[in-house]
Symmetry: C2
Subunit: 212 residues, 2 copies
Amino acid sequence: MSEEIRNRILDAAARVYAQYGFRGATTRRIASEADVNEVTLFRTFGSKAELLEAMLQSQVVGNGVPLLTFDEELSARDNLVQWCSQVLDHLRQHAHLIRKTIGEAEERPDAACAACERSSSAGASLVVYLERLREDGYAEPDTDLETGVSMLMSTMFGDALYRDIMPNAFPPIDVAAERYAETFMRAVGVRAAPMPVRSRPSRVAGTRRRDH
Amino acid sequence: MSEEIRNRILDAAARVYAQYGFRGATTRRIASEADVNEVTLFRTFGSKAELLEAMLQSQVVGNGVPLLTFDEELSARDNLVQWCSQVLDHLRQHAHLIRKTIGEAEERPDAACAACERSSSAGASLVVYLERLREDGYAEPDTDLETGVSMLMSTMFGDALYRDIMPNAFPPIDVAAERYAETFMRAVGVRAAPMPVRSRPSRVAGTRRRDH
DNA sequence: GTAGCAAGCAAGTACCTACTTGCTTGCATC
DNA sequence: GATGCAAGCAAGTAGGTACTTGCTTGCTAC
């Protein structure tokens, strides 16, 4: 089948690109990494540029930064920790590829943009969640939410992309997610318990908050 | 003089490298950017690798991330805002170069490390400052200082390096420094006024804090 | 069996790359 | 004016790059 060999080439291209970048990802290297004749690359994808474009697209499809989908069963803290952990995992898995793509943004800006949209919508999903916490009285109303979210996203990108080249600039890897989430909560004023009183509007249906 | 032409080559190499990276920074391009014969590069630096190494070193020397040197006249907030502003300025000036160097860390890890040491010592200077604020009662004692600092550094790197490719993921450029500083202050519990009472040891000489 | 097709293989094209060599030009010093 | 030196210039070397062409091999379907 042609499909199997096609995927083998795409996978090999991803590995080679992640290590050597666009210029360094020669057709020769990719072919030998995929254990395929070099001519097959051109017959299958037409050119090196088209190959790498297809490879980047295949890496992005269904592979974006995870959105925050809150679980009513969990506390705000646990929701945040879990999401941070997912985002960190995802970014770390694609760290080399992202680093290369971003590093070459001057020369091929379109490639970098694809990945960016995903991450900004992930940030947006966090904003939505925080606004809900706020109207439920779980978060203080007078904090700079957007800046906090922006900082948390930068933090997770920084951790995932640069931990391996400057390891002592970050919290230990096994507690990073919760430390980020907790520090973030302080920054944007997310409380464990809701605001003491005020005219907090009761939620619609389906919530299980019976607290005072 | 040979010195002038040498600097012209180094500057040109920096520009070309910032745009094309190591592989893309061909001796031909650098020579033409410096308006110098290509042979002169080899006579002056020996090889392309030595040239670019010299260029990176010349960019780092006396050019590290600024350390936080607090001004007793200013409030903690103003000290932090000022420092953040300096760091952001510095990082933005070298953004392209840093991005390329970090993107190529897999292939030339030593080059990336040089820049990293500087920035981690900048973070360390912030920790020192915060510990002083804490013992003066200007900061809460029970917050995760290291994580906060790590997040602030990541934030500033992220802003400086990625703002141009994802502009709406960050606060407006003219207020970014103060928003980061203020959000950071919340996160690590830096107050405008010192702790209410306790057995706070009085500072040595030269301070002007007469508050209770 | 044979026709079609996907892949391998060997070789070649045209261009770019780092780097070298031999020679000329201009300037500054004695 | 002769010497030395830094730079330019033209040409060449050896190898890598993307990409092409022509032919062979092996498998699958009718």
